[in-house]
């Protein structure tokens, strides 16, 4: 296969991965997997929001809970901005910031990571199929 195909293919995979990260389900949506994208988007976002509702914005803690924060970052880059806000400490906490809220938001992030990997793999298979055709 020519080098240009490989370059284009790698770029395509990166774009799909980024789309899947920016918006949960975005990668599958770009691959015309609309139903899959909607199921993923709704489930990941609802799980993340339930976590935020349970523990308030304090569940995103880039200072004292770095491993959890890394998992939460997999939800979307928007979590980074929430982390910047929560790091300032200038917010009211209406619940216990740890425990269940942290688990929900982190699991939502890890589920989205699974979807990112799946979207990139599906894109890779589609690319191979297109190259053979």
């Amino acid at each position: 296969m020519p080098q240009t195909w490989k370059d284009n293919h790698a770029f395509f995979l990166i774009v799909i991965g980024l789309l899947a990260w920016v918006v949960p389900g975005g990668g599958h949506f770009a691959l015309n997997e609309r139903r899959r994208a909607i199921v993923i988007c709704v489930t990941v976002i609802v799980t993340f929001l339930v976590g935020l509702h349970v523990g308030s914005i304090g569940v995103i803690d880039p200072v004292n809970a770095k491993p959890w924060y890394v998992a939460q970052l997999m939800n979307s880059p928007a979590v980074f901005f929430l982390g910047q806000f929560s790091a300032s400490g200038q917010f009211p906490v209406f619940g216990r910031a740890g425990e269940i809220g942290q688990i929900y938001t982190s699991i939502a992030g890890l589920l989205n990571l699974l979807c990112i990997v799946n979207a990139v793999y599906t894109a890779h298979l589609l690319g191979l199929k297109g190259a053979r055709a």
């Binding site: 993923i40 523990g55 929900y104």
Partner: protein
């Protein structure tokens, strides 16, 4: 939101299991058709719940043995 540390707080596990099962099945099934997807997801949710329940009973049994039975056999308290 206030969640107490009691047995009822374990119910917070259920929505999480549902989310995990739905997303996992969404990445695994060949095509998403409402009925088949719901059936497969329900099966996975059931499997996870049964496994967690069995694991909980086993752990409870081990904890009961260590904290109640072994000290009684040794003639004292574990704590």
């Amino acid at each position: 939101m206030r969640i107490d540390t009691n047995a009822a707080s374990m119910l917070w596990l259920i929505p999480l299991v549902v989310a995990i099962a739905v997303v996992y099945k969404a990445t695994k099934v060949h095509q998403i058709r409402a009925k088949a997807f719901a059936k497969e997801t329900a099966l996975l949710i059931g499997s996870i719940m049964v496994f967690i329940t069995v694991a909980a009973f086993i752990l409870y049994g081990v904890a009961w043995l260590v904290t109640e039975q072994l000290p009684a056999m040794a003639g004292g308290s574990a704590f």
